[in-house]
Structures are given as structure tokens and as C-alpha cells.
Symmetry: C2
Subunit: 413 residues, 2 copies
């Protein structure tokens, strides 16, 4: 089962828009066990679209197209699809009604050109778009599936999830496939691969493992293929347990969309605890990550971003002596920041970070990339020294991840 993804639109070819739609679709198809053979971005031009479609039809069983469905004249995809399938655009009254209703709900004036959105190739099955005016389309011709979706990411995702996936499952005999995502922080990819070498060798033939590294984290994915979903689930549960015997110390959570801030937030909520952060070089990045989680106001009281020493002293009670003797980037300062934070903001747990993110500000003693992290509660404080690289943005992001991981380890120990 092979798929080709085609993105239509000049914004991508001009380098103005990053093609995140294709990445999302490729990931969804991969999780269903469908191999993506190619991803192609082309312009909204009739000849170009037809040539690309003919070419793709020879190579794939399934062609997913995004973009080019707007109501303006420069969106040529619908008429081109009609031409490609030797048919015509016909008026779909039920789609027209839906569009009118959507406009009513959004209290936006209905423009005559939006009526165009109800004109669709005669051979398509319309896929309802609940969030916008351009419906998706499903074509089944000569044993191949063609799907055309709007380019607006949240509309595309909803139609694909609700309308396309069920139809794909009905149309093709897809293998039963299940996944487990295991989230780790603390080892790099190569160390992790070494620790899991034996585990990987012992994996049953129908289970494969992938390493998905991001800054400061490695997500592991176990994929099982077979005939019976239930059997696969049980097999995967066993393998995850088995994996724990090798790397339990660096696993912080499970699940595809999980993260350190979610795991910590869930624990804080369930245990009725509160937390706060005191950040120097991370400049609010940790606070921003924690508050990106809906409902975080239940456990996150706030943060003091102490970029200047004055704020470290006045708002976090770090003494002038500590700052003078050891410097702002020191174990003593972050220790004092975290205890000042916990008592001033009256929280159960705190994180403090101070370091030199770069590109300037390094010394021979404390080069760019030197970062001290402290986490703790009212009784205990744990610290860690990071020696990172030269890239400011990367140093900030890595420090935030390491700090969250250190707090999670502290809570669990």
C-alpha cells in the first residue's frame, strides 16, 4: 500500500510557508501502516497538476492532495480534477446548505463567490468540512483512491481524521497495527541505542522500534503488525514492561502527545501540589511551557524571571554576598533562588535556572553554555551543572527540558 502526498500552492514554492500539512499526513499514514512514497509541492496550475497526478497514479494506490480549494480564481484544483477524471463540476445543494449554515453561525456576510464552493466534480463523494467553506473530496477510480483536502491545517486535519481515515479502512485491507510511545529524557540517542541493543535483538519479528529524538528528549516508538488488534496490544504491553528493565531510569511518560510539562502537571493536579519557576537565562521558557497546558492554573502559581541580579536579590532573596562571591551563574545562586522562590511564592515545588546562553557573556571559567539548575521542595534541593553548546536558542530550550526533567526525577524519588 503506497501513498503519494501532493501539496498545491505557491506559498510553499516561494518559501513563505513551511509544509507542515504533509508532515502531519505522512505521520498519520505511517501510523496506519501505509507507506508514503513521495511528497510533492507544485503550483496551482492546470497542466502541472494534471502531469503530477498522471505520474503519481502510476506509482501509488492512494493520492492525497491538499490546498488549492479557495473560492478565488487562482484556485484551479477542483476544475482540474474534473478535467482529469473526464467529468464536470456540478452543483451540490446539500453542500450549499452547509456553507450557508456555517456563515450564519459565524455571523459573516455570505459572498456570492462562496456559492462556488458547492460546485464539485460529478464523480466525487463530498467530505463535509465543519470548520470552513471548502469541502473535502473522495474519488475512487480504477482501484485507486484520490482525496482532495483544503490547505488550512485545522480544517484538513479534522476532515482527514473524521472522514478519510474511516473510508480508507473500509476501502483497503490494512494490516492490524498498534503503537506504543515511550518518552525518555537523560540519555542521548546513541547511549539509548546501546542500552537497548539486547532488547532490540530480542524483539519479536512483527514488532519494530524507532528512535525519534528532539532537543533533550528521545521518544521511542514500538510498532506491532499482525492480524488481531487485541493480540498486538498485549504483545506491546509485555514489550514495554520488558523495555523498562533496561531503561526505567530515563522513562518519564507514555503516549504520542505526552511531554514533561504534561506529566508534571498531571502529577501536581492529582496530588494537590503547587509549583513555580525562577528563571534567569531561560527567560520564561519553562513557565511558558508549563502554562501551555490547559488547566495549569490549578497548580502553577507563577514565576519570577530574574534576568538582572537586582531582581534575584529583591524578588528571590538571593543575598548580595552570594552573588558577589560565587557569581550569578553558580550552584550557590540557583540554590538560593529556588529556596527564595518557594518561600516567597509559597509553593510546594520550585525550579531555578541561571546560566550563560550566549553568544556573548562567557569567560574562561564559565564559557557560553554553562548553566546551573536547581529543583526542590521546602526540605531538599537538588542541583545540576549543564555544559551546553554555543547556540543561544538551543541552549535555552535544552536548559528548560533538563530543568523539567530534573524536577520530575526529584518528585519521583
Amino acid at each position: 500500500m503506497k501513498a503519494i502526498i501532493i501539496t498545491i500552492g505557491d506559498e510553499i514554492l516561494f518559501g513563505q510557508t513551511i509544509d507542515t500539512n504533509s508532515t502531519w499526513l505522512a505521520n498519520e499514514l505511517d501510523l496506519m501502516g501505509i507507506k508514503v512514497h513521495e511528497i510533492i509541492s507544485i503550483s496551482d496550475d492546470e497542466t502541472h497538476i494534471i502531469n503530477t497526478l498522471s505520474n503519481a497514479t502510476e506509482k501509488a494506490d492512494m493520492i492525497i492532495i491538499t490546498g488549492g480549494l479557495g473560492p478565488t480564481d487562482d484556485d484551479k484544483t477542483k476544475s482540474t480534477l474534473a478535467k482529469y477524471f473526464n467529468t464536470e463540476l456540478t452543483f451540490h445543494p446539500e453542500i450549499y446548505e452547509e456553507i450557508i449554515a456555517l456563515f450564519g453561525k459565524k455571523k459573516i456576510a455570505f459572498l456570492e463567490r462562496n456559492k462556488q464552493q458547492a460546485m464539485l466534480p460529478a464523480n466525487c463523494i463530498p467530505l463535509k468540512n465543519e470548520l470552513g467553506t471548502a469541502p473535502g473530496m473522495w474519488f475512487y477510480e480504477s482501484n485507486k483512491v484520490y482525496v482532495s483536502l483544503p490547505g488550512v491545517p485545522f480544517e484538513m486535519k479534522q476532515i482527514f481524521t473524521r472522514k478519510v481515515i474511516p473510508r480508507l479502512k473500509d476501502t483497503f485491507l490494512l494490516p492490524a497495527i498498534s503503537h506504543r510511545f515511550i518518552l525518555t529524557a537523560g540519555y542521548g540517542e546513541s547511549v539509548l541505542a546501546e542500552k537497548l541493543m539486547e532488547f532490540e535483538k530480542k524483539l519479536p519479528d512483527n514488532i519494530s522500534m524507532a528512535y525519534l529524538p528532539t532537543l533533550g528528549m528521545v521518544k521511542l516508538r514500538l510498532t506491532a503488525k499482525g492480524n488481531l488488534k487485541g493480540e498486538l496490544e498485549q504483545q506491546l504491553d509485555e514489550q514495554v514492561d520488558f523495555m523498562k528493565s533496561y531503561i526505567d531510569n530515563v522513562i518519564f511518560g507514555y503516549g504520542r502527545g505526552n511531554s514533561l510539562e504534561r506529566v508534571i502537571g498531571k502529577w501536581m493536579s492529582e496530588n494537590n501540589k503547587t509549583m513555580a519557576t525562577a528563571e534567569s537565562c531561560t527567560g520564561g521558557t519553562i513557565s511558558q511551557r508549563i502554562t501551555s497546558i490547559p488547566g495549569s492554573s490549578a497548580y502553577f502559581k507563577g514565576a519570577v524571571i530574574a534576568y538582572s541580579n537586582e531582581i534575584k536579590t529583591n524578588e528571590l532573596d538571593v543575598s548580595g554576598e552570594i552573588l558577589n562571591q560565587f557569581g550569578a551563574v553558580s550552584e550557590e545562586t540557583v540554590t538560593s533562588m529556588v529556596s527564595g522562590l518557594i518561600s516567597r511564592l509559597d509553593v510546594d515545588y520550585g525550579i531555578a535556572v541561571s546560566g550563560i546562553a550566549g553568544p556573548d557573556g562567557g569567560t574562561p571559567d564559565k564559557p557560553v553554555g554553562t548553566v546551573w539548575v536547581a529543583v526542590g521542595d521546602r526540605k531538599h534541593i537538588r542541583t545540576k551543572l549543564l555544559k551546553l553548546g554555543k547556540q543561544r536558542e538551543q541552549n535555552i530550550k535544552l536548559s528548560a527540558t533538563f530543568a523539567l526533567n530534573l524536577l520530575w526525577r526529584f518528585i519521583r524519588s
Copy 2:
């Protein structure tokens, strides 16, 4: 002049990695006046690469390939290129010396397989990679250019900028082309288009304009094409001045990589002023954006992230009466937050934000998306009410941009 970009590697086809390399390259080519005809992602497979190359050769003058140049066996690009050009891989001693030197500098053990990196197709001109072991390659065959670059973004970008652009300019007769980027915040794309309708109509034939919208901002790009660079620059300067007469009130800066946080930071540095933020619903996003700029410690003293009311009172001196009478999301509260912030952190300028980012927490009176912003100095405070949408992430980002823009307007008025 047409280009095709080919990305090689399974990570993109599995949906694990977003193809930001192609976006970056497409933008660079576009700025040089070279049209990108297609962007194609394929797997690292000999037949697939050869078929894609043959196909691309028929359609474009220039083919840029990224990825597939690692030292491991699953990287097939180099041997495939040699095969495609009917030649062989030959050993390049000068590249070998460079790789050895690079390893020495990084203090990493040299592995025998890295020697492979000095084996290149006989017909290529190697392009030195100063940041990694895989050199880029330049081929000129039958009046077409082929460039192969490593997939690691910062290596790819450096080789393209330093080695490929000058060679492209030497090889092809490119038109003289110049750009101006005008950054605006305050109007949406459609309002802006209306205000600039007359301006656009009066543009000389050799100048075009593009709208590049992002959350809360619209970047405008003027592109002039002609024969003499100097003439174009002068023409563009005149047009920018002319544009100001239509939309001066929403222009906040100029330049491709510019941003509100850079413009504000530059002004603060030049005027020896300091600032701080008091954030509730934005949770540190404004602080994080300001501190993403190198050197921001010169003017940014810090922030109080007051997610709970307790912190608003204890750390920002917002009285219990104000919170009780008007609520945390109110003009009175943000006004009090910003004046508390300025006096507590002893800064010249402050920003305060309080709102309901969602998805929960809305009331009939103050639905999700209600956000109050205040900016000011010791004497004056200006406030603004935002009525945003239902998406938490979007609400947070938009609030941050609006708040920065409000501060910039305040400073300039």
C-alpha cells in the same frame, strides 16, 4: 530560470521531520529571482533517486538536492549521483585533510568510515563544509547545474550561502533584483490590502508587492527587478517612503529578519532604558520573546509571571479590592499590575497582560479570548481590550504580539 528541490531521507516520508530545508532554500532562490518549480521528498533509494533526477532534469535548469550524505551504508546519494553521471567515486585528499582537521578541532575520535566522506563523484567540484564531515557537491552537466548538500540545516545553509550562491551568480545571467521588507502590526491582511490598493496600482511595472502574514503581523515585501542594482535600490527607497503616506501608523520596522522584540530592544539599548513584563495568561511568552534576542540583559530586567491572584497581590501590589471588585481579567487589574511592576522592579517601561486563554475559564461576561493589556512608564499607562478566539495557543501568541506592539506605539508616541 527554474529550479527543483529534492529532499532525500525517510524521516520526512515517515512524518517525523518537517522539511524546513526546502522552505529555506525556496525562499533564498525566490529572493534571487529563481522560480522553484517543484519540491519533492523521496527515499534514499538508488532507483527512486535516479528516476527523480531524470524527471527533474527535463523540467528545470537547476536541481538542488539535500540529505543522504551521511557516512553510513543507508546513505546512497553519492554513489547514485556517480552512477547517474556515468562516473565513479574518487578519493579527494584535500577533503580528507579538511575532515581530519575538523575532527582535531572538535576533539572527537576519527572513525575509519569518516574516510568515506572524502570519496566523491569524479565530475563534481567539492564545496567545503566548515561545520561537518559531508562536503557539498557542484555538478555542471549539459548546461544544467546540480547541487548536492548535507541535510543538517546549519551545514546546508552555510554551504549554500557561502559556496552555492556565488557560483550560481557566476554561472547564470540572473536579473538584478532587490527587496525591501516592511513590517506591520495592527491591521489584518485584508484591511491592509484595502489601504494599499491605490499604492499597489501606482507601483512601477518592475516592482511587485507580496503580503506575508503571520500571527498578529503582516510583513510586506517589495521586489524590484531590472538591470542596475543601484537604480533599483533608489526606486525601492522612494516606494517605501510613498507607502508610508498610506500606512505609517502600523509600520513598526524594516528588514527581513526584524521583529517587534528586536525593534523594542534596539530602542531600549540606544536610549539606555529598562523594561520588564507582568504576565498572567501569556505565562512568560513575552519575556521569552524579549530574552530570545542576544544582549537583551542590557535592558530587560525581568518579569513576574502572576498566574495566581496571590502573586498579583504579593509580587505586584495589586490590591485585593481591585481583584474582588473587577476580577483578575480587567482594565483595573492590568493597570495596577503594570504600575506595581514598574515600581517593584524599578524599570522605565512595563507590559502587563491578563486574560482567559481557554479552552476553559470563560463566562458569559468574559468569554474565552478576553484579554486585557496595559503598557506604560512611571507617568502614563495605556490599556487595550482584545477579543480573541477559542484556541489557547493562538490566544497566547496573539496577546504577546499585541502587547509588544502596544508598548512600541506607546514608546513612539
